[in-house]
C-alpha cells in the first residue's frame, strides 16, 4: 500500500465577484473536491476550460488560499500556515506552467532563472550555484554553454526543459505540470514526455498532470480525475477511467476526442455532447452536468450526486440507473 503524499478533503474555492464595494456573486471554481495523490504516482486531471482544474491544482500548492477544506501533505494540514511554516513545503513542491514563453523572465540569464530557487532556499550561492545549475541543465538535456544565455535564444521545447530544470532545483518531491506539453509540437512533446517519465523514475517524483489532451494524460498518468464545472465527476485508475468510463460526461468527453483510426469516422459515436459548459457563476442546480446529460433523470436537477465507489476505488458522481 502506497502512502498518500497529498490528501485533499472537501476542498472548495470560490472567487468573489465585486462590483464597487459589494460582493455581487461568486465563481464556483472548485467545490467540495476530495482526492489523494499517492507517493510516487502520477495523477492526471482532465476537463474542459473553466472546469476548475488549474484552480484546484494551484490551491493544493497553496498558491491560492482555499475557501474551505483541508490539504494534507504527508498527513499534516497545510491550510492557513504562515509563510515561514510553508517554506519547507514550497521547497518540496514545484510547478511547470503551460507557456514557456511567458514563464521565463526574458531579462534573466539562464543561470539566474534556473538558479533562483537555489538561492531562495539557501542551497547554493555564487559559483557553487552555477555548478548545481549546470548539473540540472544536463539532467534535462541541455549543455554547459547554455548557462549564460537568455531565454529568447531557446526554442519552445528547450524553454520547457529550462522550466523543468528550474522546477527540479529545490530537489522537490512533487511537481505540478499544468498543461506542460500543450504548447509543443508532437515530436517535441514526445521528447519531453519521455524525459518526464525518466526523471520520475530516477528521482522518485510524484506528478500531478493537468491537460486537455486525453491521449497525453493517458500516456503519463496512473490515476485520473475528471472535472466538470468545479466538481470531480469521476476518479479512478487509468484503465478504469479510459476502459470503463462510467459518468456520462467522461463517456462524452472520450467519445468527442478524435481517434487516430480513419475507420472510426463512420462509426456512430456512443454519446454526443451538445451545447457548452454553463457559467460557473450560477452553476446548474443538483448535478452540474444535468442540462447537457443524455441520460438525465428527474432527480438530477434537485439532488447532488456524491462520489461513490463502484468497485476497486473507481469513484463516480452519478445516480445509478
Amino acid at each position: 500500500m502506497t502512502t498518500a503524499l497529498f490528501e485533499c478533503r472537501n476542498l472548495t474555492k470560490f472567487f468573489p465577484i465585486k462590483s464597487l464595494f459589494r460582493e455581487t456573486g461568486r465563481v464556483h471554481a472548485v467545490e467540495d473536491v476530495s482526492f489523494t495523490i499517492p507517493e510516487g504516482g502520477t495523477v492526471g486531471l482532465v476537463g474542459e476550460s473553466g472546469c476548475g482544474k488549474t484552480t484546484l491544482a494551484r490551491t493544493i500548492l497553496l498558491l491560492i488560499e482555499p475557501t474551505s477544506g483541508q490539504i494534507l501533505f504527508r498527513g499534516e494540514d497545510m491550510v492557513s500556515r504562515s509563510k515561514r511554516e510553508l517554506r519547507r513545503f514550497r521547497r518540496e513542491t514545484a510547478i511547470v506552467f503551460q507557456d514557456p514563453y511567458s514563464s521565463l523572465d526574458p531579462r534573466m540569464l539562464i543561470a539566474d532563472v534556473v538558479g533562483e530557487p537555489l538561492v531562495i532556499h539557501k542551497v547554493a550561492f555564487g559559483e557553487d550555484r552555477d555548478d548545481v545549475v549546470l548539473s540540472l541543465l544536463k539532467r534535462v538535456g541541455l549543455e554547459a554553454d547554455h548557462l549564460y544565455r537568455y531565454p529568447h535564444e531557446f526554442s519552445g521545447g528547450q524553454r520547457q526543459r529550462l522550466a523543468i530544470a528550474r522546477a527540479l532545483a529545490g530537489d522537490p518531491k512533487f511537481i505540478l505540470l499544468d498543461e506542460a506539453t500543450s504548447a509543443l509540437d508532437v515530436s517535441v512533446q514526445a521528447k519531453i514526455l519521455n524525459m518526464l517519465n525518466g526523471l520520475k523514475a530516477d528521482l522518485g517524483l510524484t506528478y500531478m498532470f493537468i491537460s486537455h489532451d486525453l491521449s497525453v494524460v493517458r500516456h503519463l498518468s496512473d490515476h485520473i480525475g475528471v472535472m466538470y464545472l468545479g466538481r470531480m465527476v469521476e476518479y479512478g485508475t487509468r484503465d478504469q477511467v479510459f476502459d470503463t468510463p462510467t459518468h456520462p460526461y467522461t463517456r462524452g468527453l472520450l467519445a468527442a476526442a478524435p481517434s487516430l483510426d480513419p475507420d472510426d469516422r463512420d462509426r456512430p459515436r456512443e454519446v454526443v455532447l451538445q451545447g457548452e459548459v454553463p457559467s460557473a457563476v450560477e452553476p446548474p442546480s443538483g448535478c452540474r452536468f444535468h442540462p447537457r446529460c443524455p441520460v438525465c433523470k428527474a432527480q438530477c436537477d434537485r439532488e447532488r450526486p456524491e462520489l461513490v465507489d463502484i468497485g476497486d476505488g473507481h469513484l463516480v458522481a452519478c445516480f445509478p440507473e
Binding site: 474542459e48 476550460s49 526554442s155 519552445g156 521545447g157 509540437d185 508532437v186 515530436s187 517535441v188 512533446q189 514526445a190 521528447k191 514526455l193 519521455n194 517519465n197 486537455h212 486525453l214 491521449s215 497525453v216 493517458r218 500516456h219 503519463l220 479510459f242 462524452g252 468527453l253 468527442a256 476526442a257 478524435p258 481517434s259 487516430l260 483510426d261 480513419p262 475507420d263 472510426d264 469516422r265 454526443v272 455532447l273 451538445q274 457548452e276 459548459v277
Partner: protein, 329 residues
C-alpha cells in the same frame, strides 16, 4: 482512384521571405491538387509552411514575403496572374477562409450579424437589411441557438465555440467552391472542437465545397480528411489518401511522426523520438531537408532534393529511398 475533377492545382509553389536575418525559404516547390468535393488535409509541425501555403493560395502573403514562382490554378485559371481587383472578387466568394483564432479575426466593434453579412453586401450587392436577414439565416444553419438575437451581439458576448461558428457562417455566405480552414479547432475544447468538426463536415456535404484543412493534429486528419499532404520544412514529403497514411506511410518523417503520438491503442512506456529539431528555413539543409534527422539517410540525400515518386497510384513520396520504385511525377 475516382475520376473527380481537380478544383485547385498548386504547382511548384515557391514562397520566400526577405527578412533582415536572411532569405527564408518558406515554401520550396509545393505541389498538390484538391479534387471537387474533397477534404484535403495539410499536416505538419509549427513552421513547416502550412499557413504560408494557405496565404499564398489567397495571395495574402504578408511583406516581406513574396511568391517567387509556381502556379495556383482554380478551375484551370492561374490565380497568380489575376490583378488585385479580380483577386478581391475571388476572395470571400469563390475561396473563403476560416482562421484559427476567431477572437482576433472578428472585429470587436461591429455586431455579429453585420460582419457575417458583409460578403453579401460586397460580393452580391445586397442591401444592408437583406444582408442582415440572410446572415441570420446562415447563422442558424451553423447551429446558433436563437440566431435572431445573437446576430445583434458583439463578438465579446459570445463563447469561443460560437465565435468559430460565426466565422464558418461568414465563410459560407457566398457558397465558396474552396474553403480553407487553418486550424479552426486548435483553440477549442475537445467537445466544442468536435462539434465544429461535425458541423464543417455536414455543411461541406450540403454545399459540395472542397476544403483545404490545415492542422497539426493527426487525429483530426484521421477523422476529417479524404486525402492528406504531410509537410516538413517547406516541402510536401508525402501525399496519399487518409487510410494509406495511417496504415502504410512511407516517408521516414511521416513514419516517425506517427510513432511519436501518444496513442490510446499502444500503451508503450516510451514514445519514439525524432532526433534533432526542425531546421531554420534561413539556411535549410541541402538536398532533402529531413536528411540530418533521418536514420535512413544516404549520401545522395544531402546533395539532391528528392523528386516526388508515385509508389502506388495516388501515393506520392518525396524520398530517395523510393528511387526507381515508381514513376516520377
Amino acid at each position: 482512384m475516382e475520376a473527380r475533377e481537380d478544383l485547385l492545382v498548386v504547382d511548384r509553389l515557391k514562397t520566400q521571405f526577405f527578412t533582415y536575418g536572411g532569405l527564408v525559404e518558406a515554401l520550396d516547390e509545393v505541389s498538390f491538387e484538391i479534387k471537387k468535393g474533397e477534404i484535403f488535409g495539410l499536416v505538419g509541425e509549427s513552421g513547416c509552411g502550412k499557413s504560408v501555403t494557405a496565404t499564398s493560395i489567397l495571395r495574402l502573403v504578408a511583406k516581406p514575403g513574396k511568391i517567387i514562382s509556381g502556379r495556383v490554378l482554380l478551375d484551370g485559371q492561374d490565380l497568380l496572374e489575376k490583378n488585385d481587383h479580380e483577386m478581391n472578387s475571388i476572395r470571400g466568394s469563390r475561396i473563403a477562409m476560416i482562421f484559427q483564432d476567431p477572437t482576433s479575426s472578428l472585429n470587436p466593434v461591429f455586431r455579429i450579424g453585420r460582419q457575417v453579412g458583409e460578403p453579401y453586401v460586397y460580393h452580391q450587392h445586397r442591401g444592408k437589411r437583406q444582408a442582415l436577414m440572410d446572415a441570420t439565416r446562415i447563422l442558424a444553419k451553423t447551429g446558433f441557438p436563437d440566431a435572431d438575437e445573437k446576430a445583434r451581439n458583439y463578438p465579446h458576448e459570445l463563447s469561443g465555440g460560437l465565435r468559430q461558428r460565426a466565422m464558418i457562417a461568414m465563410a459560407l455566405t457566398c457558397e465558396p467552391e474552396l474553403l480553407i480552414a487553418d486550424e479552426p479547432t486548435t483553440n477549442l475544447d475537445v467537445t466544442i472542437g468536435r462539434q465544429i468538426l461535425d458541423l464543417v463536415k455536414d455543411l461541406q456535404r450540403e454545399f459540395g465545397a472542397s476544403v483545404l484543412w490545415i492542422t497539426h493534429d493527426m487525429a483530426v486528419v484521421a477523422q476529417m480528411c479524404d486525402r492528406v499532404g504531410v509537410m516538413y520544412a517547406g516541402s510536401i514529403v508525402e501525399k496519399t489518401d487518409v487510410r494509406t497514411l495511417f496504415r502504410n506511410a512511407k516517408h521516414p518523417y511521416t513514419v516517425r511522426l506517427l510513432r511519436a503520438i501518444p496513442s490510446a491503442a499502444k500503451s508503450a512506456e516510451t514514445l519514439e523520438e525524432i532526433p534533432g529539431s526542425v531546421p531554420q528555413l534561413i539556411h535549410p539543409p541541402s538536398g532533402c531537408r529531413f536528411h540530418p534527422r533521418c536514420d535512413s539517410a544516404m549520401d545522395v540525400c544531402s546533395q539532391v532534393k528528392p523528386l516526388e515518386i508515385e509508389v502506388e497510384p495516388g501515393h506520392v513520396v518525396a524520398c530517395h529511398l523510393f528511387r526507381g520504385k515508381g514513376k516520377v511525377t
